[in-house]
C-alpha cells in the first residue's frame, strides 16, 4: 500500500491533464461543438465528423505530405547518423569534442530554429542560397517559396537538427559488439564488407530501429519547426497533419470535427507504434 503514496500523485496528474481531456475530446468528436461560440446549442452528430474526415480528399493530401516528410527525413538521418557513428567509432583524436559539437542542433528550440532558417533560406540575402550559387549557378530560387522545393526544405532542416540524435543512439551499437566476433571473422578471412554485413549491421540494427521509432513518432506529430518555417505553404505542399489540425481547431474553430481528426491521428501513432515495437522486439530476439 505504501507504493501508492509514491505513485498516486503522478497518476492523478496524468488523469487530470491527459486522460480527462482525451475523454472530453472523444465526446466532442461526436458533436458539432464550436469553441468560439460557447452559447450555441450543441448537437450530437453521431459519426458524421469521422465520415467527413475519411471521405475528405484534402486529408489524404495532408497525410501524404506528412508521410513524405517522415520517410525522407528518416532516410537521410539514418544514412548520415549511422555513417557518422561508424566514423566516430574509429576513436580518432579529438572525437569527443567533435561529437559534442555535432550534438548541439538537436537540443535547440525547433520553433526558434525554424524561424531562423527562413532567414537562411532567403532568396537574396540567405546564406544557403549564396553557398549553393557559389558551387553551381542555380540563379535566384526560394527553398520555402516553391512548390517543388518546400517539401525538401523542411526535410533538410529536420535532418540538420536530428541526424545527431540517430548518430548518438547508433554510437551505443558498435560498443556492444564483442571484439572476438571480429577476430573470428579475421581468422575466417571474411572481407571488411562481409564483416560489416554480418557483424556490425545486425548488432547495430536494434539501436537504429529504436532511433527511428522515437524520431518517427516525433516527426509524425511535427508542428513547431515546420509551422515557423513554411506555415504549411506554398499552397498546402508542406501542410502536415498537425498544422492542418491547428488550422481546423484554432482558426476555423471546427472543434468537433478537429477533435475527431485528433483522435484518428492519435490512434494512428499508437497503432503504428505498437506494430513497430512488436517488430523491433522480434529483431532484438534474433
Amino acid at each position: 500500500m505504501v507504493a501508492w503514496i509514491f505513485i498516486l500523485p503522478t497518476i492523478l496528474l496524468l488523469l487530470a491533464i491527459n486522460i480527462f481531456p482525451l475523454i472530453w475530446a472523444i465526446v466532442l468528436s461526436f458533436t458539432n461543438y464550436r469553441a468560439n461560440q460557447p452559447g450555441r446549442e450543441v448537437k450530437w452528430v453521431g459519426t458524421r465528423n469521422y465520415e467527413r474526415l475519411l471521405s475528405s480528399e484534402d486529408i489524404w493530401g495532408y497525410l501524404q505530405a506528412t508521410a513524405h516528410f517522415v520517410c525522407w527525413s528518416m532516410f537521410f538521418q539514418v544514412l548520415l547518423g549511422f555513417g557518422l557513428a561508424l566514423l566516430i567509432n574509429r576513436q580518432f583524436k579529438g572525437h569527443a569534442t567533435w561529437t559534442t559539437l555535432i550534438l548541439l542542433p538537436m537540443m535547440l528550440s525547433p520553433a526558434v530554429v525554424g524561424t531562423f532558417w527562413t532567414y537562411i533560406y532567403q532568396p537574396q540575402a540567405g546564406i544557403f542560397n549564396y553557398i549553393i550559387n557559389f558551387f553551381i549557378d542555380a540563379g535566384t530560387f526560394s527553398m520555402i517559396g516553391e512548390v517543388a522545393l518546400a517539401p525538401w526544405a523542411i526535410v533538410m532542416v529536420d535532418t540538420w537538427m536530428w541526424t545527431p540524435y540517430v548518430m548518438l543512439i547508433c554510437l551505443a551499437g558498435p560498443r556492444s559488439i564483442p571484439d572476438y566476433l571480429y577476430e573470428a571473422a579475421e581468422v575466417d578471412r571474411a572481407s571488411k564488407l562481409r564483416q560489416f554485413w554480418s557483424i556490425t549491421l545486425p548488432m547495430v540494427l536494434p539501436f537504429l530501429m529504436l532511433a527511428v521509432l522515437f524520431r518517427g513518432i516525433e516527426n509524425f506529430k511535427m508542428f513547431d519547426m515546420v509551422v515557423e518555417l513554411t506555415s504549411g505553404g506554398p499552397g498546402s505542399t508542406t501542410e502536415l497533419a498537425s498544422i492542418n489540425l491547428k488550422r481546423e481547431a484554432f482558426e476555423k474553430w471546427r472543434t468537433g470535427y478537429s477533435s475527431a481528426f485528433a483522435i484518428l491521428l492519435f490512434l494512428t501513432v499508437f497503432g503504428l507504434g505498437n506494430i513497430y515495437v512488436k517488430f523491433l522486439n522480434k529483431v532484438k530476439e534474433r
Binding site: F92, H95, W98, L101, Y119, Y165, F214, L245
Partner: protein, 308 residues
C-alpha cells in the same frame, strides 16, 4: 574495441570534422547576424566580415518610435550609448520591449514545471522501482503513452478545460501542463537511475530503525543525485523549447519566449538582427546545458532505454 589503422582514423576524423563545421554554419550565422545592422543583415552577397553593431540587441530590448528631425534637434543630448545608437536612426526609445518579460516567463514556467515533474517523478520512480505494484508494466506503458499524443490534439480539450477553470494564459496553468508532459520522461529516466542503486543500502538502513520514508530521503536520494540532476535538465530543456502549447494557450500574461521571438518586427518586416539577438540569448543556456549533460544525453533522449 578494435584498433583501427592510423590512416583510416585520420580520414574518419577529417570527415566528421567536415560534417561538424558544415552543421555549425547556421548556428554561427545566428550569432553573427545578432551583431549586424539591419542593412548588413539583408545585403547581397551576405557579409561575413562587417563592423559589429549592438543595434540588434538594443532593438530587442526596447520599443522605439520614429521622429521628425525638428523634434530630434529639440531633444537634450543622449545620456547613454544605446540612446545615442537609436537617435542616430532618427528614433527615440519609448520604453522597454516585452522580450525581458517573455524570457522571465520562460524561466518561471521552465523551473516551476521542472521542479514539479522531478519531484513527482522521483516519488513515482521509487515506487515503481522498489514495490510490487499491480499492473506495473501497464501503468508504466500508460505513463509513456501520454507522450505519443500530438500536442495540438491535447491542446483542444486543454484549451476548453483551462477556459472553464480560469487557467488560460496563467503561469500555473502552463506549469501544470508542462509537468504533465515531462512526467513520463522523468518517471522512466529516474526509474532507471534508481534501479541501479542496490536495494541493500535501504534495507540496511531500515534494519537500523529508519522508516521507509527516512530511508528514501537519507539513503536513496543522495545516491540518485546525479540522475535527478540530469533528469531535471532534460525537463527544463523541453519546457524551455516548447512552442505549440505556448502558442495556443497563452497570449499576454504567461507567453514564453518561443512564440514571441518570431514576431519581433522592425520597420519593413522582421528585424533580423533583433531576432538573431533574441535567438542567441535564448539558445545559449541550452548550449551550455548540452555540454554539461553530455554523459547522460543518450539515456535522456531514449527515455532510459539505452544506457551505454
Amino acid at each position: 574495441m578494435r584498433e583501427h589503422s592510423g590512416l583510416s582514423k585520420t580520414l574518419a576524423g577529417v570527415l566528421v570534422a567536415l560534417y561538424a563545421l558544415i552543421a555549425l554554419i547556421p548556428l554561427v550565422w545566428i550569432l553573427l547576424t545578432g551583431f549586424k545592422t539591419p542593412g548588413d543583415a539583408i545585403s547581397y552577397p551576405p557579409t561575413v566580415f562587417f563592423e559589429p553593431s549592438m543595434e540588434g540587441y538594443v532593438n530587442l530590448f526596447t520599443s522605439r518610435s520614429r521622429q521628425t528631425p525638428e523634434y530630434m534637434a529639440s531633444l537634450p543630448p543622449p545620456e547613454t550609448w544605446y540612446e545615442r545608437l537609436v537617435r542616430s536612426r532618427n528614433m527615440v526609445i519609448t520604453g522597454p520591449s516585452r522580450f525581458a518579460e517573455r524570457y522571465m516567463n520562460s524561466v518561471i514556467i521552465g523551473f516551476g514545471s521542472t521542479f514539479l515533474a522531478v519531484f513527482l517523478g522521483t516519488l513515482a520512480a521509487y515506487g515503481f522501482s522498489r514495490f510490487k505494484v499491480p499492473l506495473k508494466d501497464d501503468l508504466l506503458f500508460f505513463i509513456l503513452s501520454t507522450r505519443m499524443m500530438p500536442p495540438i490534439a491535447v491542446a483542444i480539450p486543454i484549451f476548453l478545460m483551462y477556459r472553464e477553470l480560469g487557467l488560460s494564459d496563467t503561469h500555473l496553468g502552463m506549469i501544470l501542463l508542462y509537468t504533465s508532459v515531462n512526467i513520463s520522461l522523468a518517471v522512466w529516466l529516474l526509474k532507471g537511475f534508481i534501479d541501479e542503486i542496490p536495494r541493500e543500502y535501504e534495507e540496511a538502513a531500515m534494519v537500523d530503525g529508519y522508516t521507509r520514508i527516512q530511508a528514501f530521503l537519507r539513503v536513496v536520494l543522495p545516491q540518485a543525485k546525479t540522475g535527478i540532476a540530469a533528469t531535471a535538465i532534460f525537463c527544463l530543456i523541453f519546457a524551455w523549447n516548447e512552442y505549440a502549447f505556448a502558442l495556443l494557450l497563452t497570449s499576454g500574461n504567461a507567453q514564453t519566449a518561443p512564440p514571441f521571438i518570431p514576431i519581433i518586427i522592425g520597420e519593413g518586416g522582421l528585424d533580423w538582427p533583433a531576432v538573431a539577438a533574441g535567438t542567441t540569448l535564448f539558445l545559449l543556456p541550452i548550449v551550455f546545458f548540452t555540454i554539461f549533460l553530455r554523459q547522460h544525453l543518450l539515456r535522456g533522449i531514449t527515455f532510459g532505454a539505452v544506457r551505454k
